[in-house]
């Protein structure tokens, strides 16, 4: 899917520019259930990781399932906390309090800007 898009005539002409252009913005949703110690740990871990590795090209949305329980079903959320990378596609999910930075980066498929 993705390679096909990249093979369009326009991008084929400018392969170097494609690579050097700023990476797309990363949209992250953190699902939690209320203000629990685990939620807080996850959020502070996430902020730290993003600040250290993503260089401002990210957006974090916190979704509290206690306030909007329907989303547990709609977004297929089982474990909490769950972090979902909404953009770029495809969607990626990681669970836990995000204390293992390396696995978070692997899970989100993000190359560190450092």
């Amino acid at each position: 899917m993705v390679p096909k898009v990249r093979m369009s005539a326009q991008t084929r002409k400018l392969p170097g520019k494609q690579r050097s252009s700023p990476p797309a913005k990363i949209v992250l949703s953190l699902y939690i259930a209320g203000d629990t110690p685990k939620s807080r740990t996850a959020l502070s871990n996430l902020k730290k990781i993003c600040a250290e590795h993503l260089d401002g090209r990210y957006r974090i949305k916190v979704i509290d399932l206690l306030k909007n329980p329907k989303l547990a079903r709609d977004h297929q959320i089982l474990a909490l906390p769950t972090l979902v990378r909404q953009l770029p596609q495809p969607i990626r999910k990681i669970i836990g309090d995000l204390s293992n930075t390396e696995r978070v980066l692997v899970g989100l498929d993000i190359e560190s800007t450092k």
């Binding site: 699902y31 259930a33 685990k38 079903r73 089982l78 474990a79 909490l80 836990g96 293992n100 696995r103």
Partner: protein, 494 residues
């Protein structure tokens, strides 16, 4: 602690119902044929039951029937959380049992929630819990006011997450949470090697554990069910055969049957007036069992045919279990001696259950007959013949099956006639299957050669509770049916 609320609430509920001498464990009837009998009323209400077994043993069917019957018969809406199959697949799979999930869903009696757990999509990065599942389940329960919940199957959860310690703690919490919510839950689990479950956890946190088994013996499959544990309740402990048929599951109880059926003094005609005369009371007692044994071509089925036709004349329903001939063969053969079965078939007063003995295992035969009797409610049953079942198993197994059948018929007030083929020259007393002590009436037929003429002879070996003839009666078959020529014969040859 919120958990303390539960017993109080239950006590109050019981008090409202009143008239109970002791506070018994409240139960939620499953509506599954035969299961409520062996569990003494159903699964523990407001608690969790584990259904375990290997793949293909019927766990999902069991769980689904529990919900569907709950919604249809007991006005208890249910939530089905499926970790494996999608709602559409499930609906399709259980349609074969006559369950219409779509309609039930539309009427808010049932909610199927497909929870996808895909290991490859889940990266674990530290401590987590399953609160999302709880929230989702809680919402589903609240949305239809569910009283019953099914989780099918926990294995998917174990497969989806790698941190076993967290998962075990969460599953324990899930069971407690379900109890707090006061729902009657059924959780399915995969059977482990030499243990009830693979993870050895679910059976301890469940209040009731039912094991389903699906095994192959002499190339025939048999399904069996066993209640492994049931906290706070007595229950049957045997392995019970069960069947998954067009009406869902049906379990055949073995030990719930006791020797306390009421004896009837009503007599029903055998359909052969001269035979009635030989049986002093004028026929068989209602709800008794008669055995007609004899060699090939001695007229066993013909007497059974008369019996069925007579029952039809009384406007009673008959079930003819044919294990040797097809329906059309029997109808044609009976017609040749003046017994018309076709009109009875047309009016629904007679139904055939034709099955090759080798078509299914012994217990499946038993279960199939059981299910038919419960559905069709016949007053009269004919089994033609029980000896053909001998190819199915050992004599002990066949005997045990027939014992259960006979008891079952008696419990249901059914007058039964069974035929048994006894190869000539094996003596009159030998039935092959040792059930002669079980039956109330025993007629034997044999071919006797006298001066180059083969005659059929009938004798009444026993007829409990009535005077009966001690003569050998000559049995004559004509286009008008079977007739006994009693006195003439004894005078002729005695």
């Amino acid at each position: 602690m919120p958990r303390k609320k539960m017993p109080t609430r239950n006590r109050r509920r019981d008090a409202n119902r009143g008239a109970k001498p002791m506070r018994l464990l409240p139960k939620a009837a499953t509506g599954i044929q035969g299961l409520d009998e062996i569990t003494g009323g159903g699964l523990p209400k407001g608690r969790t039951t584990l259904i375990c077994g290997s793949a293909g043993c019927g766990k999902t069917m069991f769980a689904m029937e529990f919900l569907v019957r709950g919604a249809q018969q007991y006005d208890e809406p249910g939530v089905f959380v499926s970790f494996e199959e999608s709602a559409d697949d499930l609906a399709q799979n259980v349609a074969s049992m006559g369950f219409d999930l779509k309609t039930l869903s539309r009427r808010k009696k049932l909610l199927v929630d497909h929870v996808r757990v895909v290991r490859s999509e889940i990266e674990e990065t530290g401590s987590f819990d399953l609160e999302g599942l709880f929230i989702r389940l809680g919402l589903a329960i609240d949305s239809i006011g569910a009283k019953r919940v099914v989780l099918d199957t926990l294995e998917a959860l174990f497969g989806g997450f790698s941190n076993a310690a967290i998962l075990r703690a969460e599953i324990r919490r899930l069971f407690e949470w379900l109890k707090l919510r006061g729902v009657t839950a059924v959780v399915t689990g995969e059977r482990g090697d030499g243990a009830l479950t693979r993870h050895g956890l679910e059976e301890y946190v469940s209040d009731c554990v039912i094991l389903l088994d699906h095994r192959v013996e002499s190339q025939l499959t048999a399904r069996r069910l066993r209640i492994v544990k049931y906290r706070g309740s007595i229950h049957g402990t045997d392995e019970y055969p069960f069947l998954i048929g067009a009406n869902g599951l049906s379990v055949v109880p073995i030990t719930s049957i006791r020797l306390d059926h009421r004896a009837s003094s009503e007599v029903v005609s055998s359909g052969v007036p001269t035979l009635n005369k030989a049986l002093g009371a004028g026929g068989f007692y209602r709800a008794s069992t008669a055995l007609i044994s004899g060699g090939a071509g001695t007229g066993k089925s013909s007497i059974a045919g008369h019996f069925v036709a007579e029952a039809g004349g009384r406007r009673e329903r008959s079930l003819y279990v044919a294990l040797e001939e097809s329906q059309s063969e029997i109808v044609r053969n009976m017609k040749s001696i003046g017994i018309e079965l076709a009109p009875l078939l047309a009016t629904g007063m007679l139904r055939f259950h034709v099955s090759r003995p080798t078509a299914q295992g012994l217990e499946m035969h038993l279960a199939a007959i059981h299910e038919l009797v419960i559905e069709y409610r016949p007053q009269v049953v004919v089994i033609d013949s029980i000896t053909s079942l001998l190819s199915m198993g050992s004599i002990a197994e066949v005997t045990s099956m027939i014992v259960r059948l006979v008891d079952f018929f008696k419990m249901n007030g059914i007058t039964a006639v069974m035929t048994a083929l006894i190869p000539s020259g094996e003596g009159t007393e030998m039935t092959g299957v040792n059930i002669s002590s079980l039956v109330d009436t025993w007629l034997t037929l044999q071919n006797i050669e006298i001066k180059g003429v083969r005659s059929r002879a009938l004798s009444v070996i026993k007829a409990r509770g009535m005077w009966h003839s001690n003569q050998f009666h000559e049995l004559v078959m004509s286009k008008n049916g079977v007739e006994l020529k009693s006195d003439a014969w004894s005078r002729k040859y005695a």
